[in-house]
């Protein structure tokens, strides 16, 4: 079969959750990564390049888990200590948690995320949030341009802007419009999975493989069904 055959969403989720473990991340963060990736996939957006990059960054630098959050007129989120990018694996859940908490307390605050790494994964997390908090507005800033997207409706438009040059986005501003009380849903693709980038998948699989415990003769014999003949 063509090696570019689609991956099912369940497959995507399983491999990413375990790959996150392989990259040294907590299970809850792996679940968020997988959920965001599946969300993109069900909207026909291949999440594998972003996921591969994020896993690599997580593996290379486990220290940058907690960002600095500075609240003045707006909440600014940036990497602690230097100008390194903010990982969507660790930071997107934090922002979503804040936005959901805001919604519970009827606060309409805006967030400024500086140097978002793999901004499409932030977008996915925020789009998932809209099921709880209603519409979310995002302003994406590049060095010479600014673009507005409204989630979840304009997810595809966001992908068209971001995916050609994910490193080009240096800032994301996130707001919840005051009239966003109505929860939103959009139709999704359940037809047949998503074709993933083969190089990205190779990296993801590499992290997945790190989550597997090496086998030896002793553990092999301790497995279910070991040591019995099945020619009966």
């Amino acid at each position: 079969m063509n090696k570019d055959a689609p991956r099912s969403f369940a497959e995507l989720s399983f491999y990413l959750i375990r790959a996150a473990t392989g990259a040294g991340l907590a299970p809850g963060l792996g679940e968020e990564l997988a959920a965001n990736a599946v969300y993109l996939a069900t909207h026909d957006i291949d999440p594998s390049p972003d996921c591969a990059r994020l896993l690599q960054v997580a593996w290379d630098d486990q220290e940058r888990v907690i960002p600095t959050i500075q609240t003045t007129d707006k909440t600014v989120i940036y990497a602690t200590g230097d100008f390194s990018p903010l990982s969507a694996i660790t930071v997107a859940p934090i922002i979503c948690d804040q936005i959901i908490t805001d919604a519970h307390t009827k606060i309409f605050r805006s967030y400024l995320v500086q140097q978002p790494s793999q901004p499409m994964m932030f977008i996915a997390a925020l789009a998932r949030c809209t099921k709880v908090v209603g519409e979310v507005q995002i302003t994406l800033r590049t060095l010479d341009n600014q673009m507005d997207v409204s989630l979840p409706q304009e997810l595809q438009a966001a992908a068209r802007i971001i995916q050609p040059d994910p490193d080009g986005i240096f800032e994301m501003e996130i707001t919840r419009p005051g009239n966003s009380g109505e929860l939103t849903t959009v139709d999704v693709n359940l037809s047949g999975g998503i074709v993933t980038n083969s190089e990205a998948w190779r990296i993801i699989y590499g992290f997945f493989h790190r989550s597997l415990v090496p086998s030896n003769a002793e553990s092999r014999l301790a497995g279910a069904g070991a040591g019995l003949t099945d020619n009966d």
């Binding site: 689609p6 099912s8 392989g22 963060l29 047949g192 493989h209 086998s215 553990s219 279910a224 069904g225």
Partner: protein, 561 residues
């Protein structure tokens, strides 16, 4: 429907000891499917049978529902006995299968012929709903071939001892290896409930095994050969070998498990609450109990623990049968509740078997619950919840965790992991073996315990969101606890990391929900079972008794009963 009698407590039901004692009921997935097949007049068709004299080749068996067709594509292969193993790490099998959505074209079959025999190493499309494989019971398959070829029926004792011609060693669904995600079929009436696609596949595999054995015998015996006697045929189920892979499913799908258990307990409560006005039921009940006692006599296994449990179960049911004559008031309209209360003196296996029989006689009260055995698995973190409220939630819903002493290493001795050996799920010893940092997060009790310890330093008015930012390692268990707050039967209220934990109890629980029988544990880690044994063959479904095919007895025993 209201019930005057409350449901059994989760603290009673969701313990491994009871879960590992459960039996099939009429709400199990196999009887549920068979009732639908009859209700909707499903039609079966042998579309293709390109199989050589040795039984090797390609077969397509289809079932037509009112709205669509599902096809079993079967590839049967020659297999070196050296390669025949039921383990996940196997590389070759006697037969490999897909359940296909619709009728496959020649191109589909050609494509799958290069993938299905490879199983986990193959790639599949959303048109494939299930991937499975099976190995022969070599001695029974050969015996049946030899006998039928000579114009004789097979040895009933051997047939009774084994119970199947082939046993499946994996039945994969829900998106595995590129197959269709469950979401693709979840809105269909016939596959909305749990594992219905897998049950369709297994039912067709059982039919396939009969087609295959009769074909090989026919070629070998020529005009002398005869088909299987219908009574023997019906008695042949399809075997299955199940290992640790099934256990993580139960922990990862707590909402689904809640639905299953809630339905089962609601069913029991309805039956207990019902008045018995038709006294003719009593005699039928006694007769059915006699039949099930014969079934128990035929349930013999090599595992000493399980065999002892079966012996106790036989004694329980003998006592129960006598009690129906002289102890339980059969004139009381509260007959079902009296039976239930009476059963409390029996072993857990005995208690649960009585529950199954009670449910079997009350389909009119409970069959609608078969339509509630599914749920979406969405779990959401509520970051706005205060730490004080979270603490209260844990106290209320996870109080059972306090019964475990995690200061004793034995309570966290085990860890569940995937081996690099074909991703085989295994259990390790945390303090002796490497790899615990890669464990699957299945130790819910331990995770709740660790969360409680970390929460000690936090104030009640701080939020879960703030806590998760500092402690992402607890995010998954908080999300789980919050999501399951209203679902009493979602958690297995035991410690899955304890050194004394028996995974076999989890397997038994799930397999009972499938509708399996003849549990035959081979260790604490895996079991063989039989599925659909006693169930009607496809052509018999329109006229068969679908209320009492479970707990079958051998054809010879039927004849003398």
């Amino acid at each position: 429907m209201n019930t005057a009698i409350p449901l059994r407590s989760p603290a009673d039901v969701m313990r491994l000891s009871r879960m590992g004692s459960m039996h099939a009921t009429r709400l199990s997935f196999m009887p549920t499917l068979l009732r639908r097949m009859r209700r909707e007049n499903w039609q079966f068709e042998r579309i293709r049978f390109d199989v050589d004299k040795d039984g090797f080749g390609t077969t397509v068996l289809a079932v037509h529902t009112p709205d669509r067709t599902y096809s079993l594509i079967a590839f049967s292969h020659a297999l070196d006995p050296e390669q025949r193993t039921d383990r996940v790490i196997a590389e070759a099998w006697d037969a490999t299968f897909n359940l296909f959505d619709g009728v496959p074209t020649d191109a589909d079959i050609e494509r799958l012929s290069g993938n299905t025999p490879l199983q986990e190493s193959g790639r599949f499309l959303a048109s494939e709903l299930v991937l499975a494989r099976a190995n022969k019971s070599v001695r029974l398959f050969n015996n049946v071939v030899e006998c039928l070829a000579k114009g004789q029926q097979p040895d009933i004792d051997m047939l009774c001892e084994v119970g199947y011609l082939m046993r499946t060693t994996a039945v994969y669904g829900n998106g595995k290896f590129g197959c269709a995600d469950r979401a693709r079929t979840a809105s269909r009436d016939e596959t909305q409930s749990a594992f219905q696609l897998e049950m369709i596949a297994v039912y067709l595999i059982r039919w396939f095994t009969v087609c295959l054995v009769e074909h090989v015998a026919s070629v070998k015996g020529g005009e002398q050969a005869v088909p299987l006697d219908p009574n023997l045929c019906r008695y042949l189920g399809i075997g299955n070998a199940t290992g640790l892979g099934m256990a993580p499913f139960l922990i990862r799908h707590p909402k689904l498990i809640h639905r299953w258990c809630k339905a089962r307990e609601t069913a029991l409560a309805r039956v207990r609450s019902a008045a018995l006005d038709d006294k003719t039921i009593i005699e039928k009940f006694k007769s059915r109990l006699d039949h099930i006692r014969k079934h128990l006599v035929e349930w013999n296994v090599a595992d000493e623990i399980q065999q002892q449990r079966v012996l106790t179960l036989r004694n329980d049911m003998t006592h129960f049968a006598l009690s129906l004559d002289n102890e339980i008031d059969t004139n009381d309209s509260s007959f079902w509740e009296n039976v239930f209360q009476h059963s409390k003196q029996y072993s857990l296996e005995g208690q649960e078997l009585v529950v199954s029989i009670m449910m079997e006689f009350n389909g009119h009260l409970i069959d609608d619950l078969a339509d509630t055995l599914f749920d979406e698995e969405r779990m959401l973190l509520n970051p706005a919840m205060s730490i004080g409220v979270l603490r209260d939630l844990l106290k209320t819903h996870y109080q059972w965790v306090n019964s475990f002493d995690f200061s004793d290493q034995k309570a966290s001795d085990r860890f569940w992991y995937y081996s690099e050996d074909k991703i085989e799920p295994r259990l390790g010893k945390r303090y002796e073996e490497e790899g615990a940092e890669l464990e699957m997060p299945l130790g819910i009790a331990y995770s709740i315990h660790l969360l409680g310890v970390t929460l000690t330093d936090w104030l009640d008015d701080q939020t879960v969101g703030e806590f998760c930012m500092q402690h992402p390692e607890h995010r998954h268990i908080i999300r789980r606890a919050q999501s399951l707050e209203q679902l009493d039967y979602a958690e297995v209220q035991d410690n899955l990391l304890d050194t004394t934990m028996r995974p076999i109890d989890l397997l038994r629980f799930k397999l009972a929900f499938f509708g399996a029988s003849k549990f035959d544990p081979k260790s604490d880690l895996w079991t063989r079972i039989t599925m659909y044994q006693g169930a009607p063959m496809p052509h018999e479904i329109p006229t068969a008794n679908l209320d009492s095919w479970m707990f079958p007895v051998s054809p010879s025993a039927t004849a003398t009963a």
